[in-house]
């Protein structure tokens, strides 16, 4: 009887660290599962590669990827000549930020001109512009005024368009940015 009790005591002492580990798992597993279950936004591949089915078209692709400021990017084809791009611009410090947002490929035999017009819903005194090969195309200035911009793309040319913004002071909330792209 004494030996049995001693064995039981030793066994429970061995078991104790494992039980502690199990208790920790009871806390860690739900956290990891909840993180896994958190939904994200991404385009389905067939939507992502707009116009890729026909070879002689202008193809606009969402670059996507993760960025600390720009998130929730969305590119929608409204009709054959119009696209809509939206993104959430997160809270940020006084600085300049940029992210590649669109990959445009001209598979046609002629030069194409794209018109960009974009704005944020609220004015946060941010200067928002597109950038292509170091050339800035201002969309919205510090006062909230918007500007239409045109970018030309030659036959068989491929462009990477960056979305950039400059802040002279920090912004403590996120805002939505919407942009319309029209093919002329």
């Amino acid at each position: 009887m004494g030996k049995k009790e001693e064995f039981k005591k030793t066994f429970s002492q061995i078991l104790e660290p494992f039980a502690l580990g199990l208790l920790a798992l009871f806390f860690i597993l739900p956290i990891v599962t909840v993180m896994n279950l958190t939904p994200i936004t991404r385009q389905i591949k067939k939507i992502d590669v707009l116009g890729v089915t026909t070879q002689d078209e202008l193809v606009i692709r969402l670059v996507a990827g993760q960025h600390e400021i720009f998130s929730g990017e969305n590119l929608t084809k409204i009709d054959e000549t119009e696209y809509s791009y939206s993104a959430r611009i997160g809270k940020r410090g006084a600085d300049s930020y940029s992210k590649p947002i669109l990959e445009i490929q001209n598979n046609t035999e002629e030069k194409k001109v794209l018109t960009f017009w974009g704005q944020t819903l609220s004015n946060t005194r941010s200067k928002i512009y597109l950038q292509e090969k170091e050339i800035p195309y201002l969309l919205q200035d510090n006062t909230g005024e918007t500007y239409e911009q045109k970018i030309s793309i030659l036959p068989s040319e491929k462009l990477i368009i960056f979305l950039a913004l400059e802040n002279l002071s920090g912004v403590q909330f996120s805002e939505l940015f919407d942009m319309t792209i029209t093919i002329e």
Binding site: L23, F26, L37, P39
Partner: protein
């Protein structure tokens, strides 16, 4: 194995399951009700290996907000029930006026049996605080409505305050406040 550890393991199981269930139900319900388009990916990105993907950022924001709210409710309701029940149980022992009030509100069942220990409240509050931290983080990242983040913060603070009050009530039993007892 100590009794405390055994009990802690036993108690932790329910909030752990409810936390996951709350999040999952909060995603499934709006997706089914509003017939939302989604797909599942399994890229390894940081902590996560499976991603529930929606094609519209507004839909993602809505679904994530509802799922966080459901998860918080699944944890907050039992936590506050335990805190109120224990507080009532302890207070009725010391104050007959509370007993009269409890009888008037037909809550006598709550004080006839002491089946909730401080460990229950502590573990449930810990899970609620973890869920609140997740909801607040999502709010700061713009993935959840602001009012849910604020609500999560308030709920978490209230539950922590309730837990401290319960702890005080429990310790009063061992070290009574009245000097005459010493």
């Amino acid at each position: 194995m100590s009794k405390l550890l055994k009990k802690a393991l036993k108690i932790s199981l329910a909030p752990a399951i409810l936390m996951i269930a709350g999040k999952a139900i909060g995603i499934i319900l709006p997706t089914v009700i509003y017939d939302l388009e989604f797909f599942i990916e399994n890229d390894i990105e940081g902590f996560t290996s499976i991603q529930i993907v929606f094609t519209d950022s507004n839909v993602t924001l809505f679904v994530n907000s509802i799922s966080n709210l459901t998860m918080l409710l699944f944890l907050a309701v039992p936590t506050f029930y335990f805190i109120i029940k224990t507080s009532l149980y302890q207070t009725t022992l010391q104050n007959p006026r509370t007993l009269v009030k409890v009888t008037r509100f037909n809550l006598l069942k709550w004080i006839t049996r002491k089946d909730v220990t401080f460990l229950h409240i502590f573990i449930w509050t810990t899970f609620l605080t973890i869920a609140s931290i997740i909801a607040i983080t999502h709010t700061l990242q713009g993935q959840t409505y602001t009012w849910i983040g604020v609500g999560a913060g308030v709920t978490s603070l209230l539950s922590v305050w309730g837990t401290i009050k319960t702890f005080e009530l429990e310790t009063d039993k061992i070290y009574p406040k009245e000097n005459s007892y010493y």
